[in-house]
Symmetry: C3
Subunit: 223 residues, 3 copies
């Protein structure tokens, strides 16, 4: 990507105040979710801050590497680090209070999923990439942080659990990309995509919706 295209894309990004606000909101939501998981595993306060940052910025960093934005925004833009640290400190300070609430984790995790599916797809399109790249990177941005959290904390990866997760991100990113090519205005498609992705994830957790398993499952790993 030449320097000119890069500068153009950056100025377009700066005009997207909505993009920045949503991306920082997603960062906050995922940082809270990561900090709670780390705190519940008994990490020291620095470990809580590290995991909060990785969960909040991991997906976006992979997305930026894939579209050639180096260094990734999660490393250069002080706002991401600051928002993640505030979320981590709130979780540490709130102590036992937050630990008793399972509900906020679900809420923040679902919100972060929707926000990042939308902003991931948006950023790929702003940099001029095609619909396939935009949808795939929307999914990567949305699920990357949660997968990193589970790998670091040696938990069963969320992508393994039979819940609507990556599929909700696909639908969110898909609405954003389809809306763009249908000429919908920016905020309509963004709020619709965010709302549908959040609702799918949130209500699937509350009411135990699941996608069907593939036939032939026999409860052991014979591969």
């Amino acid at each position: 990507m030449s320097a000119n295209v890069h500068a153009l894309a950056l100025s377009a990004l700066n005009e997207h105040h909505l993009f920045t606000a949503l991306d920082l909101a997603g960062t906050f939501a995922f940082a809270i979710s990561g900090a709670i998981a780390a705190r519940n595993r008994g990490l020291d306060w620095f470990g809580v801050m590290v995991v909060a940052f990785v969960v909040a910025c991991g997906g976006g960093i992979v997305r930026d590497l894939c579209i050639g934005v180096v260094p990734p925004a999660g490393l250069t833009d002080w706002r991401y680090l600051t928002v993640a640290m505030i979320a981590a400190w709130m979780t540490i300070a709130a102590g036992k209070l937050v630990a008793r609430l399972a509900h906020p984790v679900i809420f923040f995790d679902s919100l972060g999923l929707g926000l990042f599916a939308v902003t991931g797809a948006q950023k790929a399109m702003i940099y001029g990439h095609n619909a396939e790249v935009a949808i795939l990177l929307g999914i990567v941005t949305a699920v990357g942080g949660g997968v990193a959290r589970d790998v670091l904390l040696t938990r069963v990866p969320i992508i393994l659990q039979r819940e609507i997760y990556a599929s909700a991100a696909l639908i969110g990113a898909g609405i954003e990309v389809a809306g763009e090519s249908l000429g919908w205005d920016s905020s309509t498609r963004t709020w619709l995509a965010l709302g549908v992705c959040f609702a799918l994830r949130y209500f699937s957790l509350r009411y135990k919706w699941n996608l069907p398993r593939a036939p032939g499952y026999d409860d052991k790993d014979s591969a």
Copy 2:
């Protein structure tokens, strides 16, 4: 890498019909292998598709990031996604039938290893990198998908098992690179490298060949 060199390399890639055909065949082989493992773990059908795609394209995406090809071909080229999805759907639809066959998993996994060791080394050389980069990225392309599969599915990583695996990829990529510098023609070195890597991996699994352990092994992790 300047835009001209990039365009030149891309046109060279397009001329390499053999490269593309082999790379798509490797994608298909690894997608089948990933889909079977995911299905046997009881993932829903969307999870099976995600794991199939990650196993099939993960190694190549890391390779492309390392040589500055952004976005990686696995994300921009619709053929990779399509081939992986077809493989996932075949595995889901074939159900219990495929589950009973352990043999095809070994076969497809060995074939994918050989194909990706060769195409990974080829692509690095097409983009003008040295022999060390080509061999290392041949190994990364070949073993990346399998390692990602095992990390996602929380299985003992294949690289841990005492089998000829990364070493077969090294030999395959090494033959490809050595053949290039010795002036062998493209298809001779490709088929030889692919055949040797596949045969090493396949027969080592069938006949339990192993490399010796490092001395001092005491069955516990004391480090």
Copy 3:
């Protein structure tokens, strides 16, 4: 990054003999640490070499991808591969002798942490990036290899253990960056940063120093 800036940065790097020497020393230290862990898990000698290389070069490769240095130095520069292989072979050949020594693992791991925190921050600054990027990539370079080792070997990640680890890397990278902006000369800040980071990590392991846990920890993962 334009080709000129890239060439300029490369020539600056070449002038930094101190940088190169420290970076290779860190590679050696982490390769020893990785090889011992892999040997103790009973991997074959090729697996020991692979894990040694990943632990030694993994953090630096991620750092290089994040600042747009492709292919990463760990793949293009033969010295990194050579140093890692020498360390792996020394570990394999020394056999039972090294296995009985727990002390050297701690020593080499602490040394590698300090060396990579400093060189990671240095390289980011040489390529013209800001203080935040330099500190974050110092941490990534320092802890990346150890995290990769633990993920590959399915051990409890070192970042989870309540020890001064990533925090020592933060302080080391922070001293390097602060010293640069305060105008200290290159070797003063480098030796100070290296010494403080090494000492923090090494003595925290010897005397069981820990950071406090976040309040609300209840010994189970309820998130």
